[in-house]
């Protein structure tokens, strides 16, 4: 029942080989991708400003809450700060769970809470 959190400068690289947790029947990976349009205007990418120590703590708090609530096996959380160009990945959430239902539920809840409680702000460039 491990939770890992990383803040990364710039876009996230391709997902590294991460063996699924023993006993896991489902792995779900969510990649948040920067879209080339923001409010109808064409952009180059997004600049993420993070209050880094608190963002890390909040991500870990949410992760641990949801791991406990849903009985998940593993959660790996990575978010960019700084500039992320269009089409690149700025956020990745990996969840291993025994069954899919709780994993999908946790993923949905995680992203809801991310958008309220994690001090990261984006600005179109």
């Amino acid at each position: 029942m491990s939770v890992q959190v990383r803040l990364t400068d710039g876009p996230l690289s391709e997902m590294v080989d991460m063996p699924t947790t023993h006993g896991s029947g489902a792995r779900i990976v969510f990649d948040g991708i920067v879209r080339p349009m923001e409010d109808g205007a064409t952009i180059e990418g997004l600049d993420y400003e993070a209050y880094r120590p608190m963002a890390e703590q909040q991500l870990a708090i949410i992760g641990n809450d949801l791991v406990e609530k849903h009985g998940l096996l593993m959660m790996d959380i990575e978010h960019s700060y700084g500039f992320v160009p269009n089409f690149a990945c700025s956020f990745r959430l990996v969840i291993d769970s025994k069954h899919r239902k709780e994993g999908l539920k946790a993923m949905d809840e995680f992203i809801d809470r991310l958008k309220v409680d994690v001090p990261i702000w984006k600005r179109a460039q």
Partner: protein
């Protein structure tokens, strides 16, 4: 004279053109009192303080929590990560 320093980020920081504001005081404030004092000293931040929350030592706190002036205080306005 005591002094609170409040870190700003994102739109709030852009609005003020600074990454922090300072509030002078003669006694310790609760979170809600400090928010009121920040608005008083920086009226343009009012909207941000209405929707935003104060974080103390990198965690959210209740409105009636007392805040030590030497704490790390930050104004967390509408976030937009993901």
């Amino acid at each position: 004279m005591l002094q609170y320093t409040i870190l700003l980020f994102g739109p709030a920081s852009a609005l003020i053109g600074a990454d922090r504001v300072v509030v002078q005081c003669s006694r310790s404030y609760t979170c809600d009192e400090l928010k009121a004092q920040i608005v008083k000293a920086n009226p343009s931040l009012e909207t941000h303080l209405q929707v935003g929350r104060l974080a103390v030592n990198q965690g959210f706190v209740a409105g009636d929590a007392s805040i030590e002036p030497d704490a790390e205080i930050a104004l967390i306005t509408m976030v937009s990560g993901g």
